[in-house]
Structure formats: structure tokens, C-alpha cells
């Protein structure tokens, strides 16, 4: 020590020899020329502390002088020097440290860190490592030897690190609180939006119900009245008879559009149908079978290149509707100048089934016609007349279950529909 030495009753160091002098046995032992040379070269302070006198029997250099105090000041401090230079907060810990040394076994050592003040007021950190120097016959510690070194740089770095860690932890806590708050707000917003969306869906369903049920009655009546007027057209002036014809045409169009809306509404309802593993080849063959009669005499047999072991995870009603829409489209837009050829080709890649359906009809331009082919009440071709519903519905059904449909081709030559089915087990229940 430079050890501070607690008085027996307490707390305070006493009887420390602050000079570079040694005394007693320990001083003699350490004052051989070689040892003296070694300890004088060592950084820090080497000391032997006497537990009976509570003073150092030996120190290699004066702590006081190293901390900038004058000889007079050191003398004035006397045995209470350490009391003056050790940070008051460290006094109790120092007493505890001395008590622990008295309990040390054999060659065990313990270390202790504490603060001292330089004369200029700056604080320094010292670290002591202490071990028993000699014992009384009853085993109690007579003296201990120690080495104290200046670890201010290390301690200040350590303290800065601790402070930075504390600041970081405070920031993390703050951010965690902010995130928790944001999460709370987000959840509340999601709940609000979900409610709004559900409200919108409910309203839309109500409107759909009105469109598909309530409008049908007056439209059907309009159609019927138009036909009744038509039956009496011979009683009307030519202009009037013509206008009655127009009214009937309009009523028929209106009825068809409402029927289309009914179908679209049914798709919404079909989205709750459970999906099941369906054999694609079987489904394609069924669909082709349903249209055989309408394909015409000149049509070539439909080519089905779909392996027996390909299955799709889909609702049966919807798969049948989609395949029917594709077949119906191929037949409707067959080119009268050549025999209709339709080919179904399925591939299974990484668990995803793709079905390509190619026909050599009047053809489609993928880039130009895509929106019209799949748009509601839209048509890519003027002739023949169509409702513009079935392929819209097919796409909606596929999208809702995690699949998709696209079209490529060339006007006047061919069209290729690319149906992508969702992976098994990844079918969305509802869209």
C-alpha cells in the first residue's frame, strides 16, 4: 500500500509507513540488494503490511510522493495519510478487504480496486493484489505482502464502457417502449381497418344481393312487357315497332348483365368451398367430355398431356368451372378456316402445377388483349358475342386460392392459357 489499515474498531487506516523505507523483518528480507533492485524497478508499489501494528513494515516507494504530495504534507498526514488520500466511499470496502486477507488460506491471493486523490485533486485508481507474508504459530496472519499498481486508464475505460452500456441499455429500453407503443397503435389501427373493411364487405355483399335479387324482378318484368308489346307490334306505327324491338334488345342485355353479376356473386360464395386433392387428368377429361358435342365435326380430338399422378389442391366446383370456361372459350373462338385443335399440357415443378391450354383459334395477343380477356364484361373479340364473365370468374377463383392465370399467343394464330395452381397445402381458403 499502500494499504490503508483499519483501526481495530473500524474503518480507518492507520499506521501506514508512507516512505520508501522498510523496517522489521520484512524490510530486511526485501532489502537485499537484488530484491531491492527488482522492486525498485517494478512499477507501482510493493509493500508488507503488519496486521499487529496496522502499518507497513516495508514499501518500495512513497505513495504520497507519487501522488504529488510534499514531504511536509506527508509528514503532517502521519499515520492517517491513507485516510486523507483514499476516496471516502472506498474506506468501508478497504476495511472489508483487510478482513478477507486475514482469512486467506495458504498461498491464496485477493485483489482490490480503490480510488485515491492526487494532490492536484485528480482521482487515480489503484489495484492491489495481496497474499499472506507470514503467520503466527496459531495460523493467524501476521503480515501480508502486496503490490498496487495504477490502473486509472483501464478503470476509466471500463467505466466509460459501463456508462456507454448503461446509455445503450437506456436507449434500447426507450426504443422498446416506443416500439411497444407503436405496436399497440398498429394493432389498434389494424383492428380499426379490419372493422372498416368488414363493414365495406358487408355493404358490398348487401349491394350484390340487391343487384342479383331485387333487380331481377323488375328486369324480368321489363323483358316480359317488351315481349308483350312485340306481340302487338302489328298495331304500332313502323317507328314504334322498331323502338319496341330496341327496348327488347336493351332489356335482354340488362338481364344478361344481371345474370353475370349473379355469377360473380356466386364465385364469392364458392370461395368458402373446401379444397381437396383432385386428379387433374380426370378433371380435364371430364371438362373435354362436357364439350365434345359442341366441338363440331371438323375438330381434332383434344390432346391431353397430363400425367396420371398430378393432383391439384382445389375446390372441385371451381376447377370444373375454370376448365369449362377454357374449353368454352376455345370452341367459341375457333377459327372457321381450320380444324380446331386444343392441347392440355401439365407440368409439376417444385410442387406447383402448371396447366397450359393451347388452341389454334382466332388467337389472342397476350400484351394487348390481357385486360380484356380477364376483365369483367370485357371481350377481346367482337365476334361471336360473349358475356365477358367466364374468364373473369376463372381468374378470380384461381387468384383467391393462391393461383393465377395468364394468356399468351398471337392474333389469328393461337392462344395459350397458362393456369398456375397453388402448391399443395398452400391453397388459400378465401381471398
Amino acid at each position: 500500500m499502500t494499504h490503508p489499515v483499519p483501526t481495530p474498531d473500524t474503518t480507518m487506516p492507520e499506521g501506514i509507513s508512507a516512505g520508501p523505507s522498510g523496517s522489521g523483518d520484512a524490510g530486511d528480507v526485501l532489502r537485499t540488494p537484488t530484491v531491492d533492485r527488482v522492486v525498485s524497478l517494478m512499477p507501482g508499489f510493493v509493500y508488507v503490511f503488519n496486521h499487529t501494528t496496522y502499518s507497513n513494515d516495508y514499501t518500495n516507494r512513497s505513495v504520497g510522493e507519487q501522488l504529488g504530495y510534499s514531504s511536509e504534507e506527508i509528514r503532517d498526514f502521519g499515520a492517517q495519510m491513507m485516510m486523507h488520500i483514499v476516496h471516502p466511499d472506498d474506506h468501508p470496502k478497504m476495511s472489508e478487504h483487510l478482513a478477507r486477507i486475514a482469512q486467506l488460506d495458504g498461498d491464496d491471493s485477493i485483489s482490490f480496486e480503490y480510488r485515491v486523490f492526487r494532490k492536484d485533486g485528480r482521482q487515480r485508481w489503484l489495484r492491489s493484489v495481496d497474499a499472506v507474508f507470514d503467520r503466527a504459530p496459531d495460523g493467524s496472519v501476521l503480515r501480508h505482502i502486496g503490490c498496487a499498481s495504477d490502473v486509472t486508464i483501464e478503470k476509466e475505460a471500463e467505466l466509460r464502457l459501463e456508462q456507454m452500456n448503461a446509455e445503450l441499455e437506456a436507449k434500447v429500453s426507450e426504443r422498446t417502449r416506443d416500439l411497444a407503443k407503436l405496436n399497440g397503435e398498429l394493432e389498434s389501427r389494424i383492428a380499426e381497418r379490419t372493422y372498416e373493411l368488414q363493414d365495406a364487405v358487408d355493404e358490398l355483399e348487401q349491394l350484390t344481393y340487391i343487384a342479383t335479387h331485387d333487380l331481377k324482378v323488375p328486369v324480368n318484368n321489363l323483358c316480359r312487357l317488351g315481349l308483350m308489346l312485340g306481340d302487338n307490334a302489328h298495331l304500332l306505327a313502323p317507328d314504334q315497332a322498331e323502338q319496341v324491338g330496341w327496348i327488347n334488345d336493351c332489356a335482354t342485355q340488362l338481364s344478361a348483365k344481371i345474370q353475370g353479376l349473379v355469377l360473380v356473386a356466386q364465385i364469392r360464395l364458392s370461395s368458402v368451398l373446401p379444397s381437396e386433392l383432385l386428379n387433374l387428368r380426370g378433371a380435364v377429361m371430364d371438362a373435354v367430355g362436357r364439350f365434345e358435342a359442341t366441338m363440331g365435326q371438323g375438330a381434332r380430338p383434344v390432346t391431353i398431356k397430363v400425367a396420371d399422378d398430378i393432383f391439384v389442391d382445389f375446390a372441385r366446383f371451381e376447377l370444373d368451372s375454370i376448365l369449362s370456361a377454357i374449353m368454352d372459350n376455345a370452341i367459341k373462338y375457333a377459327d372457321p378456316s381450320r380444324a380446331l385443335e386444343v392441347t392440355f399440357r401439365a407440368d409439376l415443378l417444385e410442387g406447383k402445377v402448371t396447366l397450359l391450354v393451347e388452341d389454334n383459334g382466332t388467337g389472342l395477343d397476350g400484351e394487348r388483349d390481357r385486360d380484356k380477356v380477364f376483365g369483367l364484361f370485357q371481350r377481346a373479340h367482337k365476334e361471336p358475342a360473349g358475356s365477358g364473365i367466364s374468364l373473369y370468374c376463372a381468374r378470380r377463383m384461381l387468384l383467391r386460392r393462391g393461383g393465377d392465370i395468364s394468356v399468351e399467343g398471337h392474333r389469328g394464330k393461337h392462344a395459350v392459357f397458362n393456369l398456375q395452381f397453388p402448391k399443395r397445402g398452400e391453397t388459400s381458403g378465401d381471398g
Binding site: W246, R379, H381, K382
Partner: protein, 147 residues
């Protein structure tokens, strides 16, 4: 003043709906403001008519009533192709988009097209027709050099 308006030579109706075309034809015929009415049932057919006129050096229709949604080539696609025809601005052609569309986007798109004169609701009313024919004739008079 309406009686003093000279009829235009030709009006082109572009619409896929047969009833609409018949009704519009009837309105124009009864107004007496067009010597001839041509009908195209999609944008492609309308383009073919205009291309044929250009090729033959014949006068173009003075007024075109253009629908937006048609199977095959729609109204906006027609306008894209029409712009590529690079028709002389002095041709004084008036294109009016006719639609029942409530979509703001359709109105904005039509109004942004320099070749579109205006956007109006279907079916065409005779008052609107007279207004357009009058505007066309005033433009023609302004274009003629002073005697």
C-alpha cells in the same frame, strides 16, 4: 339560328352496341345535320375507315362519336393509333368521347388527349349534336380566307 347551321358531310359512330348505334343514327338523321352516317363497331374498324379515306385522298368524317369500352380495340386504344396517323391539324376533325362511365380516370384521360374535343354521356342528345355541328361550321368559317 339552329336552322341556319349547315349540315356536315359525314359523321362516324364508333360503338359496339347495336341499339346505341341505331338510336344515335336516328337522332342524327332527324336533326338533318349530317349528309351521311358511317358506323364502326370497334376502334379497328374506325381506323380502317379513316386510313381508307387518307389513302384515297377523300375527306375525313367531320365528327366522330367514340365509345370507350368496346370488344377488340377500345376507344383509348383507337386514340393511340389515331395519333400515329399524323393527320393534318387543319383537317378540323372533332372527336367526342361518348360513355356512361362514371370513372374520373376515364374523363381525365379523355380530356388529356389533344385529339379529343370533349366527353359526353350516352345516349347522344340532339341539342349536343347541334352544338357540335355549329362549332364545327364556325371553325370552318374562321379557317376560310377572307374574300
Amino acid at each position: 339560328m339552329g336552322d341556319m347551321i349547315k349540315p356536315v358531310n359525314r359523321i362516324l359512330l364508333v360503338d359496339d352496341d347495336a341499339v346505341t348505334n341505331m338510336m344515335h343514327s336516328r337522332v342524327i338523321e332527324r336533326s338533318g345535320r349530317a349528309k351521311r352516317i358511317d358506323v364502326a363497331t370497334d376502334g379497328q374498324e374506325a381506323l380502317d375507315i379513316i386510313r381508307a379515306d387518307l389513302l384515297a385522298g377523300s375527306p375525313l368524317p367531320e365528327l366522330i362519336f367514340l365509345d370507350i369500352n368496346m370488344p377488340g380495340m377500345g376507344g383509348f386504344e383507337f386514340l393511340e393509333h389515331y395519333a400515329n396517323l399524323q393527320i393534318n391539324p387543319d383537317a378540323q376533325l372533332i372527336i367526342v368521347m361518348l360513355s356512361t362511365s362514371l370513372l374520373e380516370a376515364d374523363h381525365a384521360r379523355a380530356e388529356a388527349d389533344p385529339n379529343v374535343h370533349s366527353f359526353c354521356d350516352k345516349p347522344l342528345r340532339v341539342e349536343k349534336l347541334l352544338e357540335l355541328v355549329e362549332e364545327f361550321q364556325i371553325r370552318m368559317q374562321m379557317k376560310r380566307p377572307a374574300a
